[in-house]
């Protein structure tokens, strides 16, 4: 059985190259060209990777949710491979997001962690998707693994807005999200460059990882050889 996630064998490498290029240029402008921010000073420069990481982490998880829904309806294996890839990349990005946030929060707020809605939601999301990866590791039957992790992905993704709003009622301190429209023009270019840089990196990683997952699935789905006693 073929699980085809390899229609454009060279495409992920091109996207990967583009991502590295964008990230390098964006970070250079962010670190050396853009002026320091008035209140937070140099610490603010972490925004150029932090905010793009946040967008892309959410995007990766959203893609995993879409893959899960499509898999449940169409039972096409390549969506299972893509979901596995998207969850893994999303977990990595969410973990990086927590680390960057802690590095920024210590000099700014004076603490590593705070029980703010976005932080808490990211942490909950990270643990929820780590749990799904663990589930995938423990189930050997590929059909069950695919269906169960798709179900768990849908449930975890639906939870995100509920967690966000419940924590928001409970406690809030985080400053409002930065986006190109809320920051001045000098900060705008590196933010955008890095957003696309990380977007390209994420896309390339998901494509490459989905390819690996497809190859493993192909092996697992091979029918047992005929005539051999079990």
């Amino acid at each position: 059985m073929r699980v085809d996630n390899n229609r454009f064998p060279r495409l992920p490498w091109i996207i990967l190259g583009l991502g590295i290029l964008f990230l390098a240029i964006g970070s250079y402008i962010g670190l050396f060209v853009a002026p320091p921010e008035a209140l937070m000073g140099q610490v603010q420069r972490i925004m150029y990777v932090h905010v793009p990481t946040a967008w892309n982490a959410l995007l990766a998880m959203t893609f995993a949710f879409v893959c899960a829904v499509i898999f449940l309806f169409k039972s096409d294996w390549k969506w299972d491979a893509r979901m596995e890839a998207a969850i893994e990349v999303g977990v990595v990005l969410a973990f990086l997001l927590c680390c960057q946030g802690a590095i920024w929060a210590k000099p700014t707020w004076g603490v590593w962690w705070d029980w703010d809605p976005r932080l808490t939601t990211t942490a909950v999301l990270l643990f929820a998707f780590l749990g799904i990866l663990a589930l995938r590791k423990f189930v050997d039957d590929p059909a069950r693994r695919a269906i169960w992790s798709a179900v768990a992905t849908i449930i975890a993704y639906v939870d995100v807005p509920i967690v966000y709003y419940s924590v928001r009622w409970w406690n809030s301190l985080h400053q409002l999200q930065s986006s190109p429209s809320t920051v001045s023009r000098q900060f705008w270019l590196p933010l955008r460059m890095n957003a696309f840089g990380i977007l390209f990196l994420m896309t390339a990683f998901i494509m490459l990882r989905a390819r690996v997952a497809s190859m493993r699935l192909e092996q697992e789905l091979v029918p047992p050889p005929v005539g051999e006693s079990v």
């Binding site: 589930l135 449930i155 419940s166």
Partner: protein
Amino acid sequence: MLTAALRKELLLQWRSRAQFMAVFVFGAAALLLFSFAVGPVAELLRQFSAGFLWLGLLLSSTLTLAESFHAEMENRAMEGLLLLPANPRALYYGKAIANWLQLTLLGIALIPVMVVLYDAGTTRIPMLILVIALGAAGLSAPGTLYAAMTAQVRSKQTLLPLLLFPLIVPALLASVKATSLIILGDPMNQVRSWIVLLASFDAIYWSLCGLLFEKVVEE
């Protein structure tokens, strides 16, 4: 259909009532241990009592939920159940309602333990029971679905809490907040909004998990 499924679950639970007692003792022991984390300061214990009650209930719930598909896993009984001309959804709701009743009962049984240990009494008992029932519903809907998956997997004791705990954060948060307001006094009358949040969480997960259960058990 649903009543038949529910009847079967309740009968099973009644016959294994020793297990309920064991889980209750586990929960009470957890409540006892939590007080050592704070030290013998009555005022602090009273302040944290709602959180301790819910953590105790949450830890105990993983025991009951992990066991809830135990009977179905023996002698491939699950396959037999699915062969019946019954909707798998009825099986799910039967089990989820039975789990919900058991957890509610467990929560109510833990109240006196909390009152004695943490001096956290209240006169708004019906309100407290309502919060416990809603919170237990929030645990049992996704808990039953995940139990159906993890029952068939190696190391289910690890996997069930790993999947369940991050998910029920909103339900836990709302339950703790509401319980705490009931015990410590509620001058701004905020309890109602937390109950609404809890009820909406329940509504979402009771419908979503019922829809997805069919996928989980189909072969």
